[in-house]
Amino acid sequence: MTIQLKTLNEILHNLDEKKHWGTKEYFINMGPQHPSSHGVLRFVLKLEGEIIKEIIPILGYIHRGIEKIGESVSYRNFVHLTDRCDYFSSIINNWAVSRTIEQALNMETNDRIETIRTIFAEIQRIQSHTMWWGVFGMDLGAFTPFFYGFRDREFLTSIVEETCGSRLTMNYIQPGGVLYDIKSNFIKRIKQYIKYLRPRIEEYERLISDNVIVQKRTENIGILTKEKALSFGSTGPVLRASGVPLDLRKNDSYGVYDKVKFSVVIGTKGDSWDRYWIRIEEMRQSLNIIEQLVDNIPAGKHMVTKYTTKIKLPVGYYQSSIETARGILGIFVASNGMENPYRIHMRSPNYNNLWSITDMAVGLKISDLVTIVSTLDLIIPDVDR
């Protein structure tokens, strides 16, 4: 029986042991407050010169205990807590909880609800990827993509705000339907936006993807092979860049994804360039999906049950998953028949994607570390929950 408990201080003291002639290994701290927009992530790096020998990520600077709070609120109230975790795809997070409850209670929703949900999920995906593209440029040192990414996201927020009522934390998809019906000029504005964004993506490719500096900084940096990616539990664009065609929209279809035509984008090598290029291509695929759906939204009710009915799940375990813009989000519920869940757990995609960096970035320089963290596309409140 070999159980050894350690503390963080012990590990940091042990890092400093080796002292020899020549260069001495030292460690620096990339602290919780830094000029990027991922959030509060802290790294302790063990360096020799500028080459990284070991990375220790330290979490917990935004750990709010959402799973413990979930044991004292009802199921409907838990939906509004989920969209504060991964706030760039908050409508998709709401869908994960709604899908679990609807599968558990055998609730059938009609076609109009599923079409509206799919359209909004793809809108959130485009919003998340344009924002990621802006931040990626800023991390590499270019400030122009930051403005372009924010501007494109802002057009979509005002379209979504007209229907959902909020800009960032929507609380829109509920178990049993959607909260509000879509407004009358939603379809016209979405079509205008699709016509606006398509030539812009070509312009952005000329700006960043054809740039020699970006290509040299991302090719063959941070290679994640297929076996390692599967063993590290990565999902989403990180896994698809390594060559595994896992996309829950095709493998385990929900919504109306089985009725539209789109392709799953896969990379070959698993380096940072693949992870960058996949997301640009996914934006185009999302535009195709919206274009196929937006003209034929069927008629019907927007909510199948009344909003004020209480939800009680029968005793047992329930689980389901959704593909967000960053990976697979899973919700696991253990219920004992009461109004509040007995135990509710969120399998967050960013928590499982982050750990592969301890293997990917060893032997590279600090500026490569910034590139790799930026292509992994992390949101730290989702890591810590």
């Binding site: 004292s72 509004h80 930051f146 924010f150 802002e154 800009r167």
Partner: protein, 199 residues
């Protein structure tokens, strides 16, 4: 400051004022915020300061600095938990006087949606550092953050250099439109809630 026209003599312009007003005018119109955002409110703060739709540079607060030694105002955006309390105090102590704090979002005012049954959330950032302006919202719109910065500018213009340096003035309430008082707003809200038209 005195009117310019009344002071020109022989085509030379002279402005008479006192030192306090010049310093307050300069400080209010050139606030340099520090990038400090932990969770969702940080995105709305970035939208306000760095985006293409909302222009903060007309108020002079566009230059966002990364190091606390170079910044004036600390805009706290996002939930503060116990583990983050110590870095936040270190940042606040590193800033140079005169410094101001704006608390945006409901998580920093009182703990937000994470009050009950959370074992780490600190219920309100004014338990750690002194706050000047509170901006409510979850998350607050960029226009609400502009309101907060304008209120802070009004507060700074009322500041006094040499008398009572240690007292902090209470925040200035935003002025209601003319002819409306707060009881009217309360009654209107009660009627809307009773009629249930918002459902």
């Amino acid at each position: 400051m005195e009117n310019l026209n009344s002071l020109t003599t022989n085509n030379q312009a002279v402005i008479l004022t006192n030192l306090e007003k010049i310093l307050n005018w300069a400080r209010a119109n050139s606030l340099w915020p520090l990038t400090f955002g932990t969770s969702c409110c940080a995105i709305e703060m970035m939208m306000a300061t760095g985006s293409a739709h909302y222009d903060l540079s007309r108020f002079g607060a566009e230059v966002v600095r990364v190091s606390p030694r170079q910044a004036d105002v600390l805009i706290v955006a996002g939930t503060i938990v116990k583990r983050m309390a110590k870095p936040l105090k270190m940042l606040f102590n590193q800033m140079m006087d005169p410094k101001y704090v704006i608390a945006t979002g409901s998580c920093t005012i009182s703990g937000g949606p994470f009050i009950y049954n959370s074992y780490t959330t600190i219920r309100g950032v004014d338990k750690l550092i002194p706050v000047d302006v509170y901006v409510p919202g979850c998350p607050p719109r960029p226009e609400a953050l502009f309101w907060g910065i304008l209120v802070l500018q009004k507060m700074i213009l009322q500041n006094s250099l040499f008398k009572n340096k240690k007292t902090r003035y209470r925040p200035v309430l935003a002025a209601l439109p003319e002819g409306i008082c707060i009881e009217e707003i309360h009654n209107e809200m009660k009627n809307i809630l009773k009629s249930k038209k918002y459902l």
